[in-house]
Amino acid sequence: MSVLIPRPAPHGGRLEERVVHDRELGKKLAKGCAASFDIRATLDENGVPVRNVYREIMSICYGFFSPVEGSMKKAEVERILKERRLLNEWVFPYPLVFDITEEELKDLGVTVGDRLLLRLKGKPFAILDIDEIWRIDDPEDLAHRTFGTPEANPEVVNEPFNAKMPGWVIYKNLSPVVLAGKYRIINEPTFLPPFDKFWYPPLKSRAEYDRRGWRTVINHQTRNVPHVGHEFLMKDAAYTGDLEPCHGIQVNAIIGVKRPGDYPDEAIIEGHAAVNEGGYIKPERHIVTFTLWDMRYGNPLESMLHGIIRQNMGCTHHMFGRDHAAVGEYYDMYATQTLWSKGIPSYGFPDAITEVPYGLHIRPQNMREFWYCPVCNEIAYSECCGHTKEKQKFSGSFVRGMVAEGLFPPKVIFRPEVYKVIVKWWKHFDYPFCNPKYVKEKEQRLEVDLPDMDI
């Protein structure tokens, strides 16, 4: 019996890589398009951006969401809503669609069989081969069915989703016409600083693990600037592995629209880099990466997507805490851990997501919480430390409040190097957190630029 854990195969068996690297071929493909469409943000009812489909196209085409190849057909969306599976059987949590209005469809004049050129920031970006055109009859119903209801999913859903839940708002505000078909990027974007240093799509991340000699890698999901509690979560969760602790600790930040009060993406990614630059986790064992995705905050469903992304990147393990990728109290706080430990039958999983056919192979490391214990005088793990009365928790809102008041946080909460990153981007944006102004400007700027491509 080997105790060594091998790197898992990509979800679906092979990595999708739907990027045309040959620019001449890219031009040729663009020239053959029946029409072109300028990608725009999905807006909420107040006109604030909540999603940009370009992020989904990037994540699909660079293989983060393998085996998904494009915008989904109606039958595929229905299967996902019922069983959380693609038509090829592999598990997948969310509908992903390219949606436009009836007016836009009329203006484009495209039909099934046509190739559509998708432009981003005014430049050719990708193509969509239209296999099906279908309608979302009731976006609110789609939003409810995407996340579940207390009646249909009583194991994990506590209360009905509503306009305070960002993922629900995304689906509720989709346009009614879906152009379904495969995407291909024909003009590779270049990332703007600071994102350019952290772009490791699955083919590259797997090669990077090889270069570093990492067989086992544990992933830390983040949408936060790391406080010291996060740092200890990463360090301690990484003691799992096989014969020895995990060789690598990967941070994979979700970059995209976030809710007010979250930190700006630029601070999140550089804040994590500051952890290894400061030597708190040595750079040889730590890598900071990101995935483009407008978070749905779907707790167990989001954790499934996270598992898919990180398995595709080549990770062997994934840490999950309580309230994983959650907002509010819609879900049970341990819903994600339930999915990964025993399954959620109402979502289609009578067993753990790693035990069902066509499931995931990345291994979950379900963690409880870390707090500061003044008796132990250290950052302590809740399942070790017996001083539950004396504990001092790293409450996110407490930490955000301290930052907002402009108080220099003690080293036991934020490493000085990390806090300086928060201040750097605070000066840049005149604000320490995401607010509507940041979100609107970010959606103009995006994370990428595109080279000129004359067609």
Partner: protein, 116 residues
């Protein structure tokens, strides 16, 4: 059940209470690395605070959090004025709700960046 509110104290705020009776009430968190006042708030006052500020919530520790930054600033002023962590300070804050709301409206667009 009564709730709590923590008012964090930086060097400037600590200097303002130095030499007063409040100095003895300074609490410490995180192994003495962070100073604060911790106010106990009875249910009625806690409800008034929660009703006045829609972002406010009670966290898992039983602390009222996510109040506007201006709330914390005004609360410190009222504590310093009352020289007490008692009900008088929170009454003072509730008497200035409109002022806090005006200041809070600007907080979503701009917060002054600290200089270190």
């Amino acid at each position: 059940m009564a709730k709590s509110i923590a008012v964090l104290l930086d060097d400037k705020r600590l200097a303002k209470v130095k030499g007063t009776d409040l100095e003895a009430k300074v609490d410490v968190m995180f192994g003495g690395q962070l100073s604060c006042f911790i106010l106990e708030i009875d249910d009625d006052h806690a409800k008034d605070v929660m009703d006045a500020f829609h972002t406010a919530r009670v966290d898992s520790r039983g602390f009222i959090t996510d109040v506007p930054i201006a709330f914390n600033r005004v609360l410190f002023e009222e504590i310093a004025k009352a020289k007490s962590l008692g009900t008088k300070a929170i009454d003072g804050v509730l008497g200035r709700v409109e002022e806090i709301k005006d200041l809070a409206a600007k907080e979503s667009e701009y917060l002054p960046c600290p200089e270190f």
